[in-house]
Amino acid sequence: MRELDVNSLIGPLAAACIRANRELPAEVEAALRYAREHESDKLARQVLDTLIANAQLARDSSLPICQDTGVVVVFADVGQDLHLVGGDFYEAINEGVRQGYREGFLRKSVVAAPLSRAPNTGDNTPAIVHVRLVPGERLRLHVAPKGAGSENMSALWMLTPAGGAAGVIEAVLARIREAGGQPCPPLVLGIGIGGTFEKAALLAKEALLRPLGEASEQPEVAKLEAEILETVNATGIGPMGLGGDTTALAVHILTYPCHIASLPVALNVQCHVARHTTVEL
């Protein structure tokens, strides 16, 4: 059994927080360029040009892509043959976030108490950590700083099984229309279908980690992804809600078996700053 000192993840995780906030994944930038080439609205093209220039500037400078540097979501894939030693795993993750947000001049956007709103924790901790046990003896951290403007437009429905795919499309479309320009379109939509109430939400978040442009491996799910993307882009909401053909860059769906009486559906809305990076130890 391999041993890994949890303190060894602190430095790489701090660097990952900074990297994720400054370097837009190449496939997201490519999707913005593709959208720019195919956009028919003049103002929408200007907005897309601005976003591409902003991504380049952030990569070349010490500035984050967006001032909302998010709450840090970590999916930790822990090899089941790995023995974590040297301290508390969650505290090591928080220390990595703490150092990254301090050294990277990133915004501290976390309040300790959700209702009284005070105090700000001052170091952007705690991270939101989801642990998944996987075969092997490696530790892989998927790091995704999540901004609130898009997160706030997310939703979850317990649909009637009879509604099927049409019910999913209807619910998602209504929510996207309601959100309009508020979540900073063009969007990436993570959708979880099946499981239970909480499983659907987690699937929706996980779906956002998939590299942009990769369709689901299940043909019927890939077909639904394409159909939702087309429907959302036909709304005309456009970049920043100012009108245009580009309301979403991609739709990612993950599914899971569920109860005979259930059809849970969760929508996690992601803005065009679809940040994520990976650390492997």
Partner: protein, 180 residues
């Protein structure tokens, strides 16, 4: 081509603009978001003087990232304006001439712009690095304890915005209905 205008905007500037116009702003902007708005409106309701004179000024819904060495500010793009909708009409009534943020807002805000002869403008959300570069100076002028949410006086140079709601009830958003 976007029009160059100096801040603070005059009443004539406001009257001359229509929803959809592109404008480049140079001059002072005051940042305020959720927590600062709560305090500002509480002060107004208590009949107290505001900690910073916002009459005729523009409020920018923004919580910037910390300034790295050698810069006045970090990334400084707009946050979602609708969260400030419960407060905006009172601030327009108190003399604020323009607000800047992103996204659609409640009809009450558009009605307040028409009633008081004010504007709501949008900047490109998620373009924080580029917009931060338009800021040439920044200083905290109120509520320092709020950190990123403190009120800052920014000086901006050719800060690009689009008029979203004009002083006549017009909106740039395709989904917005005509006001009665």
């Amino acid at each position: 081509m976007s029009r160059l205008l100096a801040l603070p905007l005059s009443k004539e500037d406001v009257k001359s603009l229509s929803a959809g116009d592109g404008v480049s702003l140079t001059g002072p902007l005051y940042t305020a978001r959720d927590a600062a708005h709560k305090r500002l409106v509480a002060a107004l309701e208590a009949g107290q003087e505001l900690p910073v004179d916002l009459a005729g000024q523009a409020i920018y819904y923004c919580g910037p990232t910390p300034a790295p060495p050698g810069r006045p500010i970090g990334a400084a793009g707009p946050t979602t304006s609708s969260r400030m909708d419960p407060y905006a009409p009172q601030l327009y009534a108190a003399g604020v001439r323009a607000t800047i943020g992103k996204g659609e807002r409640a009809p009450e805000v558009r009605m307040a712009c028409r009633e008081y002869g004010c504007l709501y403008m949008v900047a490109v959300g998620g373009a924080g690095a580029l917009l931060g570069q338009c800021v040439t100076s920044a200083r905290v002028v109120a509520y320092e304890d709020l950190g990123a949410e403190a009120i800052r006086e920014l000086h901006v140079e050719e800060f690009p915005v689009i008029v979203a709601y004009d002083a006549y009830g017009g909106s740039v958003f395709p989904g917005d209905e005509v006001l009665e």
